[in-house]
Symmetry: C2
Subunit: 417 residues, 2 copies
C-alpha cells in the first residue's frame, strides 16, 4: 500500500495531542483567549483573504446563501470572537471522574473523561466553522485536522495563521490544528483512511459525503446534519395552538437541518386542522406537497411525488400527509425520518408517552418545535455538528461529545485471584 499523503499531518497531530493532554483547564482557557486576540490582530489579512475567496466564488457563479456563508466582515469576526468567550466560560469536561467505586477485588475503579485524541473534520465553505471547531477541539484537549470547502481555502489559511500564532505564543505545537491545504478531493479520502492517526471523523455535508464516508472511512465516523424532520398532529392536540408550532418549525428558518419537512395529521382532526393551517402556510410562502387525502383539504397544494416524503427541503416546501392514527404516524416516521428531530403535538399523556417510546430519533419532542435541536438552544454553548447516528454522541455535539473515557484502576500491588 502506498503511503498516505497526509501521514505527516497525522503524525504531527498525534504528537500535538500528547502535548494537549498535559494542559490544565486554565491553560486551555489562556490558549483560547490567545486565539481570540490573534484573530483581532490578523483581522486585515483575514478580511483580505476572504475578499479574494468571495471574488473567486462570484466568478465561479456561487450565489445567495452559499456566498453569504462564505462572507466574513468585521462584525462577523467580532461575533466569532464573542463565541470564543462563550466557550472559554463553559465547564471543561476533561478529567471528570464519571463514577468511582471500591471493588470487592480491592481495586479502586473509576472512569475518567479524556480527549478523543485527533479529530478529522470535513466541512462546507463556512470560514466561521474553522474557528468554531478549532476552539471546541482545543478546549477538550483534542488536536484537529480540518478540511473546509475549497471555496474558503484562502480565508482558512489566514484564520489558521492566527490560530498558529496563538498556539506558538503558548508554547504549543502548530500540529494541534492543521488544515489540509489543497482542494484535491483525493485528500478527503486519504483523511478517512488514516485510522492510525485520526480517532474520529466528522463529515459535515450532504448525503454524498456521508455515503463516501460509509464506503471509504476506516475510522469511526459521526454523520449527521441531515434533517428530515416530522411533526405529528395527534387527535388529542389542542387545535387552537397547533398552527403556531407548525409555522415556527417550517418558516422561522427554512434553510437549516432542524426545520420541518413533513407534517403528519391524524385523520380524525384533519378536516379541522388543514384548511386554516394550509392557508397560513401558503400566506407564509410555503409550497405544500400533499398526499391524496390531504389534497382534498388543501386545494392549492401540489400532489406529493414519490420521493417527496424523503426530502430535506431546506426551503419553504412542506410535505403534508393525513394518517389513520398515532401508529400510522409512528410507522411513517420510522420509515422516512433521518432520525434528527421528530415531534408530536398532543394533550394526551398516553399518546405522548407512546410516541416518545417508539421514536428514537436524536431529538424527540412533545408539544414543541423541531427548531430547538441546536447546541445553544440545548444549553451546550456550542456545537461541532448534529449527530443523527446511534453511536457515541447524538443530536447537537457539544464539548462532552468530543471526549471519551478510560477506566482507571488503582490498587496496592493488587493481583487477580
Amino acid at each position: 500500500m502506498s503511503q498516505n499523503p497526509l501521514l505527516a499531518l497525522g503524525e504531527a497531530a498525534r504528537e500535538a495531542s500528547y502535548q494537549l493532554l498535559g494542559l490544565s483547564a486554565p491553560q486551555k482557557q489562556a490558549l483560547l483567549s490567545a486565539i481570540s486576540t490573534a484573530l483581532g490582530q490578523h483581522q486585515d489579512a483575514i478580511l483580505a483573504a476572504n475578499a479574494e475567496d468571495m471574488a473567486a466564488a462570484e466568478a465561479a457563479g456561487l450565489q445567495g446563501a452559499m456566498l453569504d456563508r462564505l462572507l466574513l466582515t468585521p462584525e462577523r469576526l467580532d461575533a466569532i470572537r464573542a463565541d470564543i468567550d462563550t466557550v472559554i466560560a463553559l465547564p471543561d469536561p476533561v478529567g471528570e471522574a464519571i463514577d468511582s467505586r471500591l471493588l470487592d477485588n480491592g481495586l479502586r475503579l473509576s472512569r475518567r473523561r479524556i480527549p478523543l485524541g485527533v479529530l478529522g473534520v470535513i466541512y462546507e465553505a463556512r470560514p466561521n466553522v474553522t474557528v468554531d471547531v478549532s476552539v471546541l477541539a482545543l478546549k477538550t484537549g483534542n488536536a484537529a485536522i480540518l478540511r473546509g470547502g475549497k471555496e474558503t481555502l484562502r480565508s482558512n489559511r489566514a484564520l489558521l495563521a492566527a490560530i498558529h500564532q496563538a498556539l506558538e505564543s503558548q508554547g504549543l505545537a502548530k500540529g494541534a490544528i492543521q488544515l489540509i491545504d489543497s482542494p484535491d478531493r483525493a485528500l478527503v479520502t486519504a483523511l478517512m483512511q488514516m485510522d492510525s492517526h485520526v480517532d474520529m471523523l466528522i463529515p459535515r455535508g450532504g448525503a454524498g459525503l456521508h455515503r463516501l464516508c460509509r464506503e471509504q472511512a476506516r475510522i469511526p465516523v459521526i454523520t449527521g446534519g441531515i434533517g428530515v424532520c416530522h411533526l405529528f398532529v395527534d387527535r388529542h392536540a389542542d387545535l387552537s395552538r397547533v398552527n403556531e408550532v407548525v409555522l415556527n418549525a417550517k418558516v422561522q428558518r427554512p434553510t437549516v437541518c432542524n426545520a420541518l419537512e413533513t407534517l403528519l395529521v391524524d385523520q380524525a382532526v384533519a378536516e379541522q386542522v388543514l384548511p386554516v393551517l394550509g392557508q397560513q402556510l401558503r400566506e407564509a410562502g410555503v409550497e405544500l406537497r400533499a398526499c391524496p387525502r390531504a389534497l382534498v383539504l388543501l386545494p392549492e397544494a401540489i400532489p406529493a411525488g414519490a420521493d417527496d416524503f424523503d426530502q430535506e427541503w431546506l426551503a419553504l416546501v412542506l410535505g403534508v400527509k393525513v394518517v389513520d392514527d398515532l401508529d400510522a404516524a409512528i410507522a411513517h416516521i420510522r420509515h422516512h425520518s433521518s432520525e434528527h428531530s421528530d415531534g408530536i403535538l398532543t394533550d394526551d399523556i398516553a399518546s405522548a408517552e407512546r410516541f416518545l417510546n417508539a421514536i428514537n430519533s436524536a431529538a424527540v419532542y412533545v408539544n414543541a418545535s423541531t427548531r430547538f435541536t441546536d447546541g445553544s438552544q440545548f444549553g451546550l454553548g456550542a456545537e461541532v455538528a448534529v449527530s443523527t447516528q446511534k453511536l457515541h454522541a447524538r443530536g447537537p455535539m457539544g464539548l462532552e461529545a468530543l471526549t471519551t473515557y478510560k477506566w482507571v484502576g488503582q490498587g496496592d500491588y493488587t493481583v487477580r485471584g
Copy 2:
C-alpha cells in the same frame, strides 16, 4: 447495486427491535428466564449438535484450546444458565433519564437511555457467546444478528432453537435474535454493509477481521479484544512487591487478552529487579524476549526480534525492555500498545499521575495486574466484548455499552423565538 443477501434478516431484526422497545424491565426479565428454561429443555438436542460439531472439528484437525472452547457439557450449560440469572439480576439501563433540566426557552430537556436497535456480532467458535450476546442484547432491548465461527454452526442452530422457543413463548418475534446460518464468508461482508438495518457491529476476533471491518464496514464498528498490554516498573516501585503483580499478569491465564505482553523496567532499578524476576518467570515456564540492555541481566532470555514488542502472545512469552525513565516508558507504550490495558508499578504519586494522564488506553492501572480488565471483575456482571477504540464504549462492554440516548424535549406548544 445488487440486493444485500441478508436484507430479509435485517428487516426482521428491525421489526423485532420495535417490538422490544415496548417491553418493560419485568417483561425482559421474564424473557431471559424463559431462555434459561428453554436451554434446559433443549439440552439433549444442544449436546447432540455440539457432539457433531466436535467430531467435525477434530476431523478437520482442530486442537487444544480451540476444541475446548467449542465443547459444551451439561456442566457448561448449567454455567451458561447461571450467567443468565446474573444478567437478570443486573439493573436495566434502558429508560434511565441521564439528566433533566428546564431550559430558559421553556423546554424541559432530558436525555433518555434507549437501546441501540439492531446489533451485528461476529465471533469465534464459542457457543457460549451465542447465549451471552443474545441475553445481553435482549436485556437492553436490542435485536441481534449473530455470525458465530463456522465450526459451531450446528451448536448455534440448536441454541437458537431454544432461544426462539423462549421468544415465541413471550409473544415476541423470532427476528429478535437471528443466526447467519451459513459458513459463507461473503455473508460477513454483507453484514458489515447493511447500514440501514444494523446500528452497531461488534467483530470479536483477530487483526484480520478488524482490518476487514475497517475496510468494508459501512456501519459503526466497535473493535477490541486484542491486548498488547504493558506493565512499567518505575524506579519508585516497591521492589519487594513487583514480582507478584508481574507474574499474575503474565502467568495466571496467558491465553486471554488482558494478559501481559511486555514488561518495561526503569534502568535505575533494572539490576535489582530483573535477575530474580526473570528467574521466577522462567520457573513459571515463561520464555523471555529481551532488549539488549535487559539481555545482559537475563542471560537465558532470547534477543527480542524486530516485531516482538508488537505481538499479542496469548502464550507464556514475555517481551522485556529496559527503558531510561518514565517518559521513555510512556513513549514505548504509546507506540506499541493496542490501548487495551497498561499499568505502572510505583509508590510515587507524581509518577502515577503522570502515567495516568499520559496513557489513554481503555484501562490504565496503578499498582495492579492488567488481568482485571474484565466485565465481571469490573462489576458489570457480563461483557459482550472489550473495546479498544475511542468511540462509544471502552474496555469491558456491559449492558450500558449496548445502549445510547436520545434527547427528549417537552414543551407547552413551545416555539423558538
